[in-house]
């Protein structure tokens, strides 16, 4: 039997890795990949809490399904933005995309 804590520790570690990817990488696509890791860590948490604390109602899995949908939408729009920026600026380096930097 696996205690709940193992899942939560795994999710914490995965979230930390994703956060590092978002903060440290220069390439905008790599940043999006980091966001995906963080969303997955959150999903592990949601499903683990569902299984261990409230398996009698399906809210946990329903929330996880919503996270899937939002992640798919986020990636579609994010990558479209990246490709559009690449087409205009010939770069996907987040440091150089500073048009809106004040």
């Amino acid at each position: 039997m696996i205690p709940l804590s193992w899942y939560l520790y795994l999710a914490a570690g995965l979230f930390g890795l994703g956060l590092y990817g978002v903060l440290a990488r220069k390439n905008a696509i790599a940043i999006l990949m980091g966001v995906e890791l963080m969303l997955n860590a959150v999903n592990i948490n949601i499903v683990a809490f569902w299984r261990y604390l409230t398996p009698q109602n399906m809210s946990g899995q329903a929330f996880a399904v919503m996270v899937f949908a939002v992640a798919a939408a986020e990636v579609a729009v994010g990558l479209a933005l990246v490709i559009s920026i690449y087409r205009r600026r010939k770069t996907v380096d987040a440091d150089e995309i500073n048009l809106m930097k004040w």
């Binding site: 890795l17 990488r25 990949m33 997955n40 798919a72 990636v75 990558l79 490709i83």
Partner: protein, 172 residues
């Protein structure tokens, strides 16, 4: 150690290892492939949590769509990206410190929570969680409104992505 625990430990090692490789590789295609491994590991975790439907959706949506989309985007934007280019921010030391601190703080705080060692209650035999999830998603006293809003969100994302990524007229 039971089989379940062995599978969990192996899978979580795999997830964390490939996550680490993903955020540190210079070559973005390699990073995307490590992302696929990590996502597959998360699908295995969902199976361990007896959420079979979510495991299947994880493979279909994350590996089948999102990771492939990532790889496409990497290949479409490779033009002048050379492998030797520095792939990290100047402040990546701070990023490392901050994310390590964040994960450490999460783990410490979780360790203080009383319910942390909870064991999974057995699911009733013969109960179909997939069926329950399906009816919860479409029943009016369940999640039908978030479900419908999610479909509108996906449509908006689809149209938005098309509009944003379309070449401009008389493009430069």
């Amino acid at each position: 150690m039971t089989v379940e625990q062995a599978v969990f430990l192996f899978t979580s090692f795999l997830i964390l290892f490939s996550g680490f490789m993903m955020v540190t590789r210079q070559n973005l295609v390699h990073a995307a492939l490590y992302l696929v491994v990590a996502l597959f590991g998360v699908a295995v975790i969902f199976v361990l949590l007896e959420a079979g439907f979510l495991a299947v959706v994880q493979v279909l949506v994350y590996i089948g769509a999102i990771a492939i989309l990532m790889i496409f985007a990497v290949m479409l934007t490779r033009g002048n990206a050379t492998e030797e280019q520095e792939s990290m921010n100047a402040g990546f030391g701070w990023a490392m410190l901050l994310s390590a601190l964040f994960a450490f703080a999460l783990i410490v705080m979780l360790g203080q929570w009383a319910d942390i060692g909870a064991m999974a209650p057995a699911l009733d035999a013969g109960r179909s969680t997939i069926e329950e999830l399906g009816s919860a998603l479409v029943s009016p006293d369940g999640y039908v409104i978030p479900f419908e809003v999610a479909s509108v969100l996906l449509l908006a994302a689809l149209i938005g992505a098309l509009v944003v990524a379309r070449p401009q007229k008389g493009g430069k």
